[in-house]
């Protein structure tokens, strides 16, 4: 498996942005971690009690205080600003690409029902059809999931896409992403939703546009048969 350690493979457009931010924070906090832990160990060894030596009597240093107040403040505000720009790209008010393919995803104990817009590309029309526990999408095409829940709070989580959003009953969330590689992934429920929570999985199948269109046509044909 390619992700035994660390983050899973990145399979969406903004996954790389998130990962970059993650590694940046990892480096910064890593440095802070090393400084503090090394200092602790070093002080413990160097300043261990020895006969005949008294501790240095001081109540502090205003200069040192200013430094270790200001430096973390600047660093975290900087991180905050960087995060904010990535965040608004992913979740901002107008971040959903206008050409995104809408798919309605309704969560309920303990299944995911995906409603596809059919050939006309619009939800709420007669050619919509619903699949249980299957999210089938084209690659390199933004998808916007209209996320709802029928009963309790669930959370729509696809680790490889770096997508996670709660499905809250009574609310509709719009969650967009664009897959960058074909293949099969899992939707996992990330919010405790009852005794079947651990099994509330669904498949995500990412296909070429042509394969997807063909699948769509097959489904449309099936739907017509079923409704007849």
């Amino acid at each position: 498996m390619p992700y035994d350690w660390g983050l899973p493979i990145a399979a969406s457009t903004f996954a790389a942005d998130i990962d970059r931010l993650y590694y940046m924070i990892l480096v910064i906090t890593g440095i802070a971690f090393v400084i503090v832990e090394v200092a602790i160990v070093w002080f413990l060894i160097k300043y261990r009690a020895r006969p005949g030596r008294k501790a240095y009597y001081t109540h502090g240093s205003a200069k040192a205080e200013v430094i270790w107040t200001a430096v973390p403040a600047v660093v975290v505000v900087g991180l905050g600003i960087l995060s904010a720009s990535v965040w608004s790209h992913i979740r901002g008010r107008d971040s959903v690409p206008p050409n995104a393919l809408p798919i309605a995803l309704e969560a309920k104990q303990f299944e995911w029902n995906a409603t596809y817009p059919g050939a006309d590309g619009e939800l709420g029309t007669g050619d919509d059809f619903t699949m249980r526990n299957l999210l089938q999408i084209p690659v390199n095409q933004p998808v916007v999931v209209h996320l709802t829940s029928e009963d309790v709070i669930h959370s729509f989580f696809v680790p490889e896409f770096r997508v996670k959003h709660d499905a809250v009953p009574g609310m509709e969330a719009r969650v967009w992403f664009e897959a960058t590689m074909t293949g099969e992934f899992s939707i996992a429920c990330a919010e405790l939703c009852g005794l079947g929570h651990y099994r509330m999985a669904a498949r995500v199948v990412v296909q070429d546009q042509a394969e997807y269109d063909q699948w769509l046509a097959e489904q449309a044909a099936n739907q017509t048969v079923a409704s007849r």
Binding site: D4, G6, L7, P8, F14, I18, Y22, I25, T29, A32, F33, V36, E37, I40, F43, Y47, A49, R50, R53, A55, Y56, Y57, H59, G60, S61, E65, W68, T69, P72, V76, V77, L79, G80, S83, A84, W87, G92, R93, V152, I153, F157, P159, R162, V163, K164, D166, V168, G170, M171, A173, A188, C189, A190, E191, L192, C193, L195, H197, Y198, A201
Partner: protein
């Protein structure tokens, strides 16, 4: 020994004790006895919470295999010893609930606010001793009500300790009815206890400080407990209110949190976390305060930057009110709101950094003694740093997308609550044990316990960061159901084994605690050569605390002061030379 005019001599001072056994040990109004009562109660619930954790870890490490000894559990929990998913959900919920509300919180606040405040500010008792007694005798039934959840039909509450509605509000969704109701009742009752307690702590600190104990001569432990009490009295009523609303949803169909009739599930989250984030600081501030006392003692140096330590705690206490939304970044809350919560959350790193560096500054050029409290206090700093730094990841909203509701969060919160608060408590229990019981805990077994705990603790919780990054969701009963989690199962098993060893190690602490009570070395008045006022009264501290009210002449951490020959200058000791100004 400097003991001058007593300002509070209308209150009985230490005297021959004529109270009956019941008034003395059961319905006692003595803050020290109440502290000990809280200590025994919360250590018991700590054991309960730990046991639940081990059962949970077993299922995660060895899914579907019978829990050793689990055969004694009823069929509704674990047929043939194999845990059921609904029982697992109860374990998750009750572990969190017991640890947060009935172990760590009462250990820090119930035990040490009670025990330390009067002793450290030189007061004979609390301002409202009877209220204090009531606060224990309300907390105790609350714990039993919570325990009763396991006995009712449908089992204990199973919606997670955060009780997210609608899962918690409608028994049809969770399969649990009685347990959910008991949870709400217990929390509301416990809230009463916390409110009574906090009123007492605040009043006592404001009004009953000994002569000379100015605000900036108060030890940081007292400052931290003071700030904590203010947070508690402001935060707990919100939780109590929310719990009662949830109870109404369950019992009389009010639908505050149920959407079909206009209820709003996110309302619960806002209420819960508006309480919940200050609660996080309630669970860490007293630990920070007590660790400051112990590190100054262990380093034989005044605390570095006393004033900025106080302001940092006030800053944390204040920021704690404006960051609750960071628990809800992925909940569908307005994303712009998410951004402002991100910035306020990031800012918490600043006072936390100040505190960490000041502890380092205190150790710098010290003369460090490696007694058990010091070891645990230093471990607190080392572990709190990890917990604090991992918090930066989830503060960053985009990174939080990936790690929210995964084991990364579990790792983070255990680094703060176990690595932080619990190490501080191991230190504090050992440090003030002689003043409580008049005997010392075993130094040797204390060190053995510390070393093993430190190792197994890290082996248990550090790998959780890894599996969390890999996408391992929280609160799932069987990770092997997901293909992408299968590669992490080896780590899961490793964590489980470490957790079992960590749990087993606590036997050493339990035995050390119990045996020392009866067989421990008799403690002198000031075994740690500390500066606090409490160390000038006999061990154990007598009823009424001080033979005469102490007068305070110095700041709290006058270690290695040039004024005296010893390397500690007690707060109430008068030196012939002009007294030094308090900590500058």
């Amino acid at each position: 020994m400097a003991t001058t005019a007593a300002a509070f001599d209308h209150v009985a001072h230490a005297h021959a004790d004529t109270r009956s056994f019941i008034r003395r040990y059961i319905f006692s109004t003595d803050h020290k006895i109440i502290g000990i009562q809280f200590l025994i109660m919360s250590l018991f619930f700590l054991l309960v919470g730990g046991t639940l954790a081990i059962m949970m870890r077993w299922q995660l490490g060895f899914p579907g295999e019978a829990f050793p000894g689990g055969g004694v559990l009823p069929e509704t929990m674990a047929p043939d010893g194999v845990l059921l998913p609904e029982f697992y959900n109860s374990l998750v919920t009750m572990h969190g609930t017991f640890m947060v509300f009935f172990a760590i919180m009462p250990l820090l606040v119930g035990v040490y606010a009670n025990f330390l405040i009067p002793l450290k500010i030189g007061a004979p008792d609390m301002a409202f001793p009877r209220l204090n007694m009531v606060s224990f005798w309300v907390a105790m039934p609350a714990g039993l009500i919570m325990m009763a959840g396991f006995l009712v039909e449908g089992g204990a509450a199973g919606a997670g300790w955060t009780m997210y509605a609608p899962l918690s509000a409608n028994p049809e969704y969770s399969g649990v009815s009685g347990g959910q109701i008991l949870w709400c009742v217990s929390i509301a009752v416990l809230g009463l206890s916390s409110i009574l307690g906090s009123t007492n702590y605040i009043t006592t600190i404001i009004n009953m400080r000994a002569p000379g104990m100015t605000w900036f001569r108060m030890p940081l432990s007292i400052w931290s407990l003071f700030i904590t009490a203010i947070l508690t009295i402001l935060a707990i009523p919100i939780l109590s209110g929310a719990a009662i609303m949830l109870l109404f949803d369950q019992l009389i169909g009010t639908h505050f949190f149920l959407p079909p009739d206009g209820g709003q599930p996110l309302l619960w989250q806002h209420l819960f976390w508006f309480f919940g984030h200050p609660e996080v600081y309630i669970l860490i501030l007293p630990a920070m305060g007590m660790v400051s006392d112990i590190i100054a003692n262990g380093s034989r140096k005044p605390i570095f930057g006393y004033h900025s330590m106080v302001y940092a705690m006030i800053g944390i206490g204040f920021l704690g009110w404006i960051v609750w939304g960071h628990h809800m970044f992925q909940s569908g809350m307005n994303p712009t709101l998410g951004m402002s919560f991100m910035i306020s959350t990031m800012l918490i790193a600043v006072p936390s950094a100040i505190k960490t560096f000041n502890w380092l500054g205190t150790m710098w050029r010290g003369s460090i003694r490696f007694h058990v409290p010091m070891l645990n206090a230093v471990a607190f700093v080392a572990m709190f740093v990890i917990g604090g730094l991992s918090g930066v990841f989830m503060a960053s909203t985009p990174v939080d997308i990936q790690i929210h509701d995964t084991y990364f969060i579990v790792a983070h919160l255990h680094y703060v609550l176990f690595g932080g608060s619990l190490f501080a408590l191991f230190g504090a229990i050992t440090f003030w044990y002689p003043k409580m019981f008049g005997r010392m805990m075993s130094e040797f077994w204390g060190k053995v316990h510390f070393v093993l705990t430190f190792i197994f603790y890290n082996l248990t919780f550090f790998p959780m960061h890894q599996i969390g990054l890999g996408g391992h969701m929280r609160r799932i009963y069987d990770p092997t159901e997901y293909e992408f989690l299968l590669p992490l199962q080896g780590l899961n098993r490793f964590i489980t084994i470490s957790a079992i060893l960590l749990f087993a190690t606590q036997t050493i602490f339990a035995l050390n605690f119990i045996i020392s009570w009866f067989r421990g070395k008799k403690a002198p008045d000031n075994p740690w050569e500390d500066t606090g006022v409490e160390w000038s009264t006999p061990s154990p501290a007598p009823h009424g605390n001080f033979p005469t009210t102490p007068t305070v002449h110095h700041g709290p951490y006058e270690f290695s002061s040039p004024l005296v020959e010893e390397d500690y200058l007690m707060q109430d000791r008068r030196v012939s030379k002009p007294a030094t100004p308090a900590a500058s």
